[in-house]
Each structure stands twice: as structure tokens, then as C-alpha cells.
Symmetry: C2
Subunit: 375 residues, 2 copies
């Protein structure tokens, strides 16, 4: 096969359960991709990431092009042996981080010029260079360079920004060398404007991609607006290709997005929250630094089988964070990634059983209960 | 059995290989105890610590009494379930850290008063309270409270300090409730003065302990002087009890100490060095942050079976430290602890085979070669 494959195995309303096929293995969808920004999922060995259930991870082109550098990674055999992750890797295009992290950025038709936030060196990122970097990294799924439209924005500016992204998408497709097992995904833009989302989706389908991402959402517009944008975008995407909602999100938001036909997610939330002492549970989020956990021998979530819940009580985890011990972030990251993967598994199972509405209702009811009673 | 047991299984010159028996399992000697200061070996899950070969770890009474507090640990079932380390734990007495970390400390016959370096609270640590704290923690091996004599020091002051420690040792023995599988170790003081070391050793033997530590060495006096102090101390210690050289040390120093009859060690060096990018190898120490490792795909030490060496090249480890990624300290800590445990295993094997001199010579020759040639 040229490109990646995708097969839907079950449907429940707009939701689908399926299988994304890459040259480095299959990914069951709905799938959550842990973020491995700088060639590491922070604090986790790859084997531990895999143990949580993750079948694909995400790498950040912006960070990797600056350090250690795409050419260096290529000389070392690519990202997979470099970081010891043998499974599929999706890399973003660098566009989002250039906008959020880089300095002195300047955008024109050709691409974007910026200064590294690490050492001030100047770089020029074009659609062609982004594709080349991702090839050097040996990414299994390459994302097209796009401009992540700022929020809030007026419609004319959103239209100009989206159309630039569509021209870049065509150049990316042109630059991408098709290979068996490797995929290229386009990214729908258009902010919250229905007509622009439709125009963008149609433009991408016209170019033709292995998968379609929805970008520029969950950037501050509010979740209800995000869902409305999904509702007017998804119908214009091909049914036989995976749909990836970038940068999302909170557990409840992913449930809502899956019900609207989304297949893939990535987000720093489980890893970043874990590092600051926040843990996701069936019954909502808790902050393990809170004093009420100081003598609580119970696990974060007794339904969870991760090492943090299996081997430790809240009191110990609380102590680790109070004492600034590395093992605290390690264990809570592990827990949160497990929670996210367990949620994806439950969504796949619910779709397979045709019980997604009931699952979503039970999920919301459980979350609303809040944390277990203090001892 | 009341107390801990110890049996020598092989001898080679002054060196011994043996077995320390505790209620939570046996420890093969010579043994290195990784330091788990605040109820965690920094950055390592207990299972990983055990995988390196460690059979016993050390906890710090000073840190644990301040945070989370000995009574709290006791209410949570003791240190072992709290931190998920089912094997033996030796706790120090708190004396050394009071001297090196606490503020406004004041020492008198009764004990030492100090302010916590964490929150400024005042504490009074006596030999009796130190034994009680270690019982609350449920330490398998309790250390007597001593005064770690400062360096440099004149003989009269060293004598006063040592004799105070001996009176405290007697009070500790009195306060310690003998239990099957739990041991109490005395600590020889006397700085570098032969007569004082002899007097101290004899005083402790007169009181009677399950094991004998040698304290107040490797505090700046130079390794040759340390070895001389060992030479004049060890002969006065009972042959049928384990001997523990506290706070040591560098790999080459442990080889020298084992040849002088030492059975146990603890040191922060492998863990602390690992966190700052330093790795121990058969051919000496390297700093992985050094630019010459930036594109080197070879492992730190191809003779090592730890995950850092088995799964990664130096280039990746270099990248992790440059990018301040947690996985760098995690992997180098793992490597260094593996190196230390491999060294202990090799020393035990060499003693068992009656080849310790040859082993020590080969060890020194290999170390002198320095790191492998750059690519």
C-alpha cells in the first residue's frame, strides 16, 4: 500500500471505531497520542508509554528541528531508534509552535521566518522544508505546514489565513514523496466560520490526503463553539479516512468529539498536568498536593491498574510532590496517560457494542460525582 | 533469631563475601545501598532499583522525620508499604544531616537541637528519639545517633566528640527493643587518630551491636588517610559481624575498602552524578553533556546491560540533558546504580574465587584507559 490505511470496523451514530495502518504497526481508533515533544514523552520510558496502551506518539517538528536537529536525527537512523520507540510516530508540522514559542516570526507566502527560542538562531520554515524535516525524522505520519489562525479573529482575516494554509497544503502534497506505510495528513482551518470550514475541507479533499486533521480549534473559543465547528466540518471529510482533532483535550471533550466522528487526538494535558500534581480520575480531576491527601492511604483511583494506583496511596504521592521528588511527576504522568488510554479503550468498546450514548451518559454522571469522600 | 544475622561464605585476604540476614530478606555482601533519602531513590521505581541488583536501600531519618514525619509514616504502615520497597531498609540516625543541613543546631550531652531547613520548625534529636523514629519508620537496620566529627580537627576535640558518640551509642542500645530480624549498628568515630579509633571500636564491641559502621571518614581527609584509618579500625571489629563504611563512595575507593574488610557501603554519588549527566563506566567517568557525545550512537558502556546502555546511544542521552528532559537523569541514575551493583557482584565473585588481587589490578588498569576513543 502507498500511504497509510484506514478501515472502520464499527459505527455508532457519527462515531466510528477503526484501525489506522502504518508501516510500523496498526493503531486502534479512537486513539490518543501522547506528546513526545523533544523525542521523549516527559518522564516516561517508551516501554511504559506502550504499557499504558498507547500505539502511536506525537513528536514536535519545531523542537526537534532546533534540537537535536533533523539532519542529526537522520544520521542517527531516524527518530524511532534514536528514542527507542519502534511504533508509529506522527510529527506535527512546526507551524503551531512557531506561532506560540518562537521569537521575531515573520510570515509570508513562502513560509515563516523565526528565531529559535533556545539560542536565537534564525530559521526559515516552508511547507517543503517542513515535509523534508519530517522525512529526515522518519515520521510515519507527516502533517502539512499550516498557519494556526489566531483567536479571536474576524472572518476576512480567517479566510486569508485559511487560504494560505490551503496553498501550503498543496505545496506539501507536492513535496511529499509517497511511500508504503507512510502517510500525509492535511489540516482544515477556517476558525469558527462555517463557510470557511467547508471551503477548507473541500480544498483538502480535492488535493487528497491519507487523513484529515482539524486545526485551529480549542484555542480559546469555548468548547461549545468547538463542537459546533466540528459539526460543520466533519460532514465534508471523507468517511474512509481518519479524522484527527489537534491539541484536544480534556477527557469530556474527547468523548464529545468522538461522538461527532473524530478518530484521533493529541494533547499535553495528561503529561503536563501529571508533572504539576493533577490527576484525572473517573470522578474528575484531583490535585494531589492538596492537604486532604496527606494521610490518605487509598489509591488515586481504585479502578485504575497503573503503577501509581496499584502500588501507592495518595499519601505517598502527596509526599513526593511536597518533597519535589521526580518520582511524583513520573507516577502521575503514568497514571494520566493510563487514564487517557483506558478512556479510548472504553470508547472503542462502547462504539463496538453500539452503546456510546449510554457510555457517554454514565461517564458524565460519574465525573459529576467529584472525588471520593475524604477519609 | 533476635537481631540480624551475618555469615561469611568466602575470604580473600582481609576481604570477605557474606550474607546479611534480615527479617525482610538476605543481602549479599559486599553490598552497595542506594540512597533513598525521602522515601524514594530519586527518579527510580523500586522495581527498577531491585532490577539493578540492589537488595537493601538506605533512608534518611533527618529528612523523613521532617517530611512526611515518622508518626505519619507509622500510621501509614511504615516505610516499606509507603514507598513500595518490600526488601530491607537501613536508616541512618539523622546525626550527619543535622550537622550538614539543619540550621541553628546546638549540641549537648542530651542530643542535638536544630531548626528544620524546610520550614524552620525546632526539633530535638536524642539517641532515644532517633531509635524511636527509626522504629516508627520500621527500619530493618537502625543506626545509633552519633556526632560526625568535623574535619579538620585536633585530637583532643576528636576524642571528646568520639566519647560523646560512645555514650550515645550505649543509650541507643538501651533504647532499642530487640526484635527478630531487626538489627542495630554502632558507629566507630575517632577521626584519623589511631588510638581513638581503637578506643571507639572497643567501646562499641563492649556494648555489642549487630553490625559496626565506620563513620567520620571520607569527609575531606583524602583517600589514603581514609584507608589508613580503616587499617587501624577493622582489626578491632568482630569478624562475625558486618562492617559498613558510611558515605563511601567512588568505585575505586570501594574496591580498596573491600580489600580492607568492608562489607557494606552507601553513597549519593551514583544517583546524584546521574542527575547531573555523569556516568560511571569500566573505563572511568564521563560527562554525557560533553559535545563529543552529540552524534555518538554507541552506548555509554557496551558491557552494561542497563536500559540506558541497552536501548540508547550517547547521542540520545546527550540530547536529553541538553533539552533538560527528565528521562536523562532517570536513565543515567539507572545506569550508575547498575554499574555500582555490577561492581559489587564482581567483587563478591572475585572474593569467592580467591582472585581479588587480580580483579583489583584489572579494574585499575581498565579505569586508567579512560573513555573509549571518540568516533
Amino acid at each position: 500500500m502507498v500511504g497509510t490505511g484506514f478501515a472502520v470496523s464499527a459505527r455508532d451514530g457519527a462515531a466510528r471505531a477503526g484501525r489506522l495502518e502504518t508501516g510500523r504497526g496498526a493503531v486502534q481508533t479512537p486513539a490518543f497520542m501522547p506528546v513526545g515533544t523533544a523525542a521523549t514523552v516527559k518522564g516516561m520510558l517508551p516501554g511504559a508509554v506502550r504499557e499504558t496502551g498507547a500505539e502511536i506518539i506525537l513528536g514536535n517538528t519545531y523542537h526537534l528541528m532546533l534540537r537535536p536537529g533533523a539532519e542529526r536525527v537522520a544520521r542517527l537512523g531516524g527518530l524511532h531508534p534514536f528514542m527507542n520507540w519502534p511504533g508509529p510516530i506522527l510529527t506535527d508540522s512546526g507551524g503551531f509552535q512557531v506561532m506560540s514559542l518562537a521569537q521575531l516570526r515573520k510570515l509570508d507566502e513562502s513560509g515563516v521566518t523565526f528565531q529559535s527560542h533556545i539560542d536565537g538562531t534564525r530559521h526559515h520554515l516552508t511547507p517543503e522544508r517542513s515535509v523534508e524535516i519530517q522525512r529526515l525524522l522518519d515520521a510515519d505520519i507527516t502533517m502539512v505546514l499550516d498557519e494556526c489562525t489566531r483567536w479571536p479573529v474576524e472572518e476576512p482575516e480567517a479566510a486569508d489565513s485559511m487560504r494560505l494554509s490551503m496553498r501550503w497544503a498543496a505545496r506539501s502534497k507536492e513535496a511529499f514523496a509517497p511511500r508504503a506505510g507512510y502517510g500525509l495528513f492535511g489540516i482544515v482551518q477556517g476558525s469558527v466560520f462555517q463557510a470557511l470550514r467547508e471551503e477548507s475541507a473541500k480544498a483538502l479533499v480535492e488535493i487528497g490526503f491519507d487523513g484529515y486533521a482539524i486545526g485551529g480549534l480549542a484555542v480559546g473559543e469555548g468548547w461549545e463553539t468547538t463542537e459546533q465547528a466540528l459539526d460543520v466540518t466533519v460532514p465534508f471529510l471523507p468517511d474512509d479516512r481518519p479524522r484527527y482533532l489537534m491539541g484536544v483535550g480534556r477527557p469530556e471533550d474527547m468523548v464529545g468529539a468522538v461522538r461527532r466522528g473524530i478518530d484521533m487526538f493529541d494533547c499535553v494535558l495528561p503529561t503536563r498536568s501529571g508533572r504539576t500534581g493533577k490527576a484525572f480520575t473517573r470522578r474528575g480531576e484531583i490535585n494531589i498536593r492538596n492537604a486532604r491527601h496527606a494521610e490518605d492511604p487509598r489509591p488515586i483511583d481504585e479502578a485504575c491498574g497503573c503503577p501509581a494506583c496499584r502500588d501507592y496511596g495518595r499519601a505517598y504521592l502527596h509526599h513526593l510532590f511536597k518533597a519535589d521528588e521526580m518520582l511524583g511527576p513520573i507516577l502521575l504522568t503514568w497514571h494520566n496517560l493510563s487514564y487517557y488510554q483506558d478512556l479510548m479503550r472504553a470508547l472503542r468498546d462502547a462504539i463496538g457494542a453500539g452503546r456510546l450514548d449510554a457510555y457517554a451518559a454514565a461517564f458524565a454522571a460519574e465525573q459529576a460525582k467529584g472525588d471520593i469522600e475524604p477519609l
